[in-house]
Symmetry: C2
Subunit: 399 residues, 2 copies
């Protein structure tokens, strides 16, 4: 089925001739077993320390924030959505304007997804064939078609540091084995076509491992993808409707089979702190999710051990910051009372301040994880944070 010549992936990933490089960073030995690892991902737009979380800028903007806000929150790499940008304002337009980095004035790491997930979840009147996916735009109902080649063409036009293969994700828990298998095999064929189509040498390309919650399919997909000369490997089809245990089982299968593979591992779509902790323990390096920003816009602010719902009336008289000592724009300047007022008045500033906080919290959480891995205390950190709190936080509710 695959007729292209594929160089040895491991050799390629370590030669330095690739657009990105990924080196593992030595860490102190840990008393308890963990696959958590430290890494340094070097891109044309700077260094990304891993494990790392990427905020999502769907429409070439992380909702409510500007690039200064993102830098201040500590973001070193963000994700933008190929599906959305292809439909509006159009990838060719962005290319004419100098590419996505310039368009959105973001000078750090940037990854585009392939559109696969959005095509399936947002497109109307979807038909999938072996060549690609035909659907109607969620914006104006216009007919659209995504193929592996088109996805790569769009992502090359956008010009992010990292592009991702076009895949067919399916809900992991709700899908039958035959559905998972069919989507996985199509994803494999498309992965090869993406590799063939991709020609932008300063842009990295990540493949996507599928296989749902079926152990043998997940294992087979890992073996298939790891044999291809991608710059990194995404773990797709999780962070959906599966349980935490099911996710961990699938991750363990993948990571075991990637043992010794020097390329970054990116679990797509995971964003809650406790979930991140578990996936880092399983050996994942990169994450993205809209979750911290989306719940922020709804008035949910993350704090250690819990969350505050700023729409609750009790905060209207609370002079404290959302989180004492937090360096974010919200916490160093304003009270809970002020933020609660802004949310009740539907004031735009509420969305920005809450998003600054939750992204700062998430990125600081990742930094704490890295620090614990470095000094060998990550298993202890994980145990502490995943245990039920001894006494309930005075302010927070369980996350």
């Amino acid at each position: 089925m695959n007729t292209i010549v594929i160089p040895d992936p491991v050799a390629t990933a370590t030669t330095g001739s690739r657009p990105i490089s990924f080196q593992s960073v030595p860490a102190a030995a840990s008393s308890d077993p963990t696959r958590a690892r430290l890494g340094r991902l070097v891109t044309p737009h700077g260094l990304i320390e891993t494990p790392q979380f990427m905020p999502v800028g769907t429409n070439a903007t992380v909702k409510a924030l500007d690039p200064d806000d993102l830098r201040e929150a500590g973001a070193t790499m963000i994700l933008a959505n190929t599906y959305h940008l292809a439909l509006r304002p159009g990838h060719e337009r962005i290319a004419r304007l100098g590419g996505l980095h310039r368009f959105m004035a973001w000078d750090r790491g940037l990854l585009t997804d392939s559109g696969g997930y959005q095509v399936v979840s947002l497109g109307d009147r979807l038909t999938i064939d072996d060549e690609g996916v035909t659907f109607r735009s969620h914006l104006d109902g216009s007919p659209q078609r995504f193929t592996p080649e088109h996805s790569i063409r769009v992502q090359e036009a956008l010009g992010a540091d990292v592009a991702v293969c076009f895949d067919q994700p399916v809900p992991p828990h709700a899908s039958s084995r035959s559905t998972v298998n069919e989507a996985m095999e199509r994803t494999h064929r498309w992965a090869v076509r993406c590799l063939e189509a991709h020609g932008r040498t300063e842009q990295a390309l990540f493949g996507i491992i599928q296989g749902g919650l079926e152990p043998d399919l997940r294992a087979g997909s890992t073996d298939f993808l790891r044999a291809l000369p991608f710059d990194g490997l995404c773990i797709g089809g999780l962070a959906g409707d599966e349980t935490a245990g099911q996710r961990r089982d699938a991750l363990d299968i993948v990571v075991e089979r990637l043992e010794g593979d020097p390329r970054p591992r990116y679990l797509m779509g995971l964003g809650s702190p406790l979930d991140l902790l578990d996936a880092v323990d399983a050996g994942v390096d990169l994450f993205d999710s809209v979750l911290p920003a989306r719940v922020a816009r709804n008035g949910t602010l993350w704090v250690p051990g819990g969350r505050l719902n700023l729409r609750n009336a009790r905060f209207l008289d609370d002079p404290r910051p959302v989180l004492e000592g937090c360096p974010c724009r919200l916490c160093r300047t304003f009270s809970r009372a002020y933020l609660a007022h802004l949310f009740r008045a539907n004031e735009l500033l509420a969305y920005r301040l809450a998003t600054c906080h939750n992204l700062t919290f998430t990125l600081d959480f990742m930094a704490r994880i890295r620090s614990a891995i470095a000094d060998g205390t990550f298993p202890r950190l994980r145990r502490e944070l995943q245990a039920p709190p001894a006494s309930s936080d005075a302010a927070g509710e369980p996350a």
Copy 2:
């Protein structure tokens, strides 16, 4: 009618025992006649150079901006709305939280209006009697009553640098002489009651001149108000449905009768650049308006000699900044194409960037006016800017 002992207003305004002071600044003689004047308003929260424009922070936030954005735009004094804050989150709550400056983290000049305008324009089922105004809240329909004493109590609780008397504004053009006269006389009685009620010594109090477009009423109101020991004089009942000529006639009557009065003159509600130019020429020192921010949120960006409608498709491919050389966050970072995209995608960042630009533009415009007054060239600047453009701006449409 007025039984309180009123100190000589001019002597009071110049003694320095008042919460604010206002000194005129010498300017070069101008070849053409103008009443434009330079001043320095010193408040407990810093110096405000006049003529000056105050952005409006209705709900204790200038929509879409934070205090850093406002400082960067050059704002030295802003306005907040007593009516809105009394209803939500409540003035007593703001007082408990340390006052309005602290609540909204604004460390520069702050003025609260009296609520008179909003009560009349936003309140439902309004009844006005000599004691005050009864209405239903626009938020929840709850019964509310504002009196001069209540307005002052609310403004003292908010604790801005400048409070304003509770008045009864009427639409200047659409109101009969008897309506204007009745509202003016009531405003006069209420001005005296506000003076009696006001006891917060570190807070200044401005009176409001009414009288609509009736020359004798406008003159009489000016004479009545100037005789009272206010720290400044507002010119109310304009910036409504009157023509520019009618407004100028009313302003000339007011300012002629304030000749030699050292107190600041504040025309409430005016915000378009050409209107500001004319009112400065008439001798006004202070302005406020929601206009620059409101039109910004609708996608209208102000540029010299015109405006750009960023919702127009032609901007989707325009790599230029909205205004070359403009120091605002939008123009120094992003293209017209990016802003046009953000507006089409209804992205929150659009509102912030556009508002930063229009407020920077307006505040820079006031600085240019001050500079022209200082060097005696203000009449020439006014002639140049008010003349129809010789050739239409390549990008702008007439404002």
